[in-house]
C-alpha cells in the first residue's frame, strides 16, 4: 500500500514536471482560432523560435507578463516556429533553462503561406511578431519589443 502511494506520488511529480514544459502541437485552424477569441480576456500571442536571437531576448518579458497577470484576464501564448524535429533537442531544453511556464504551442503546419495571412495580412512572415487582442482592440507588431513597450501595449489594450 505504501509503495502504491509512493508510486502515485512519483507519477504526480512527473506529470507536474512535464506539464510545466509541455509543448502542444497546433495546426493552421488552431492558429486561426487562438487569434479570434473575442471575449474579455486579452490574448498576447508571441511568435518565436530558439534560432531567432531577438525572440530569445524578449521571451523573458512574456514569461514575466504571464506570471504577473496569470490570475487576471490576460493570457500569454508562445507560438513556437522551430522545425518540429528540433523540439526535443532545442525547444524543450530552452524552455527548461529559461523556466518558461506560459503556454507553448508548436506549429505543425509548415505550409506557412496557407495560414500566415489568416493571422494578420500585413505580416511578412518574419519573427519576432506579437499579436495583442481582445474583443475590442487588436494590434499586430512585427518587431522586437522592449519590456516597457510590451507592458505598455498590454495595459493600453486590456479591458
Amino acid at each position: 500500500m505504501r509503495y502504491w502511494f509512493a508510486f502515485i506520488f512519483c507519477c504526480m511529480l512527473i506529470s507536474c514536471e512535464s506539464s510545466a514544459q509541455s509543448v502542444n502541437d497546433i495546426n493552421s485552424d488552431g492558429l486561426e482560432a487562438i487569434t479570434r477569441n473575442l471575449n474579455d480576456t486579452t490574448y498576447v500571442v508571441n511568435f518565436w523560435a530558439t534560432w531567432c536571437s531577438p525572440c530569445v531576448k524578449e521571451i523573458g518579458y512574456f514569461e514575466e507578463l504571464h506570471r504577473q497577470f496569470n490570475t487576471s484576464n490576460v493570457k500569454v501564448i508562445l507560438v513556437n516556429l522551430d522545425f518540429p524535429n528540433q523540439v526535443d533537442r532545442r525547444v524543450r531544453p530552452f524552455l527548461k533553462e529559461k523556466k518558461i511556464t506560459a503556454d507553448v504551442l508548436l506549429v505543425t503546419d509548415l505550409d506557412y503561406n496557407a495560414w500566415i495571412d489568416r493571422i494578420d495580412p500585413s505580416w511578412s512572415g518574419a519573427i519576432p511578431a506579437t499579436l495583442i487582442y481582445n474583443r475590442e482592440k487588436r494590434v499586430f507588431l512585427e518587431k522586437e519589443l522592449t519590456h516597457e513597450e510590451l507592458f505598455n501595449y498590454v495595459s493600453q489594450i486590456k479591458l
Binding site: 534560432w51 511578412s124 512572415g125
Partner: protein, 199 residues
C-alpha cells in the same frame, strides 16, 4: 514655397514607393556587389540570360540552411535553361557575426556553391528589393534587355522537409515563363529569418 511643398511631397512619395519594395511586374533594381571570389558581379552581367534567380540568403539561419541544397539544385537545373542563381547575403555582420565576408567565403567553398554569393555591404540592395527574410527569392525575367520581377517569395511550401513539398513556387514560375505565360502565384510570403539591419 509651393514648389518646396510639391518637391517634398514628391520625395515622400518616392520614399513610400521605395519602402514598399519590388512587386511582380516592377523593374528590377540593378546591383553591383562583391562576390566571395573578390570580383564584382552586376545584374547587367546577366543580360544574355533569360532571367536570374536572385536569392537573399545567409550563413546561420536554419531556414537558409534547410534550403541550401535546394538553392544549389535550382542553379544546377535551371542555369543552362537561362535562369542562373545569384545569392546575396544582406545581413549586417556586426549584428550577425556569422555573416562576415570571410565566413561567407568559407561557406561557399565548403558547400561548393556553383553560383556567386555576394555581400550587400551597404544593405542598399535588399532594401531596394524590399526583402524581409532569408531566404527570400526575386525571380527576374529578362524582358528585352530590362530585368523585371516575375515572382517574389518563398522557394516552395515546406521549409523543413523537402519530401513534403507539394508546391515548388520558384520552379513553377520558371516553367511558366519558359512556356510563355505569367507565374501564378506571382508572389508568396518568404518564410525565414528576419534580415539583420544595421539601421
Amino acid at each position: 514655397m509651393k514648389k518646396a511643398i510639391l518637391s517634398s511631397a514628391l520625395a515622400f512619395l518616392v520614399i513610400m514607393l521605395l519602402n514598399a519594395g519590388l512587386k511582380p511586374g516592377d523593374n528590377a533594381y540593378a546591383f553591383s556587389l562583391k562576390n566571395v571570389d573578390g570580383k564584382s558581379i552586376s545584374l547587367s552581367d546577366y543580360s544574355d540570360q533569360k532571367g536570374v534567380i536572385v536569392v537573399f540568403t545567409c550563413n546561420p539561419c536554419p531556414y537558409a540552411n534547410a534550403y541550401e541544397q535546394r538553392i544549389i539544385a535550382l542553379h544546377k537545373n535551371y542555369a543552362d535553361k537561362g535562369f542562373p542563381v545569384v545569392a546575396i547575403d544582406p545581413n549586417d555582420d556586426k549584428i550577425s557575426p556569422e555573416d562576415t565576408f570571410a565566413k561567407m567565403k568559407e561557406k561557399a567553398e565548403k558547400k561548393g556553391y556553383p553560383f556567386p554569393y555576394l555581400k550587400d555591404v551597404t544593405q542598399e540592395v535588399y532594401k531596394s528589393y524590399g526583402a524581409t527574410n532569408t531566404p527570400h527569392v526575386y525571380l527576374l525575367q529578362n524582358d528585352g534587355g530590362t530585368f523585371k520581377v516575375a515572382y517574389v517569395g518563398a522557394i516552395d511550401n515546406n521549409a523543413m522537409d523537402e519530401s513534403s513539398v507539394t508546391t515548388k513556387y520558384v520552379e513553377n514560375a520558371i516553367q511558366a515563363i519558359l512556356s510563355g505565360s505569367n507565374p501564378s502565384p506571382a508572389s508568396t510570403k518568404a518564410i525565414g529569418c528576419g534580415i539583420k539591419s544595421a539601421t
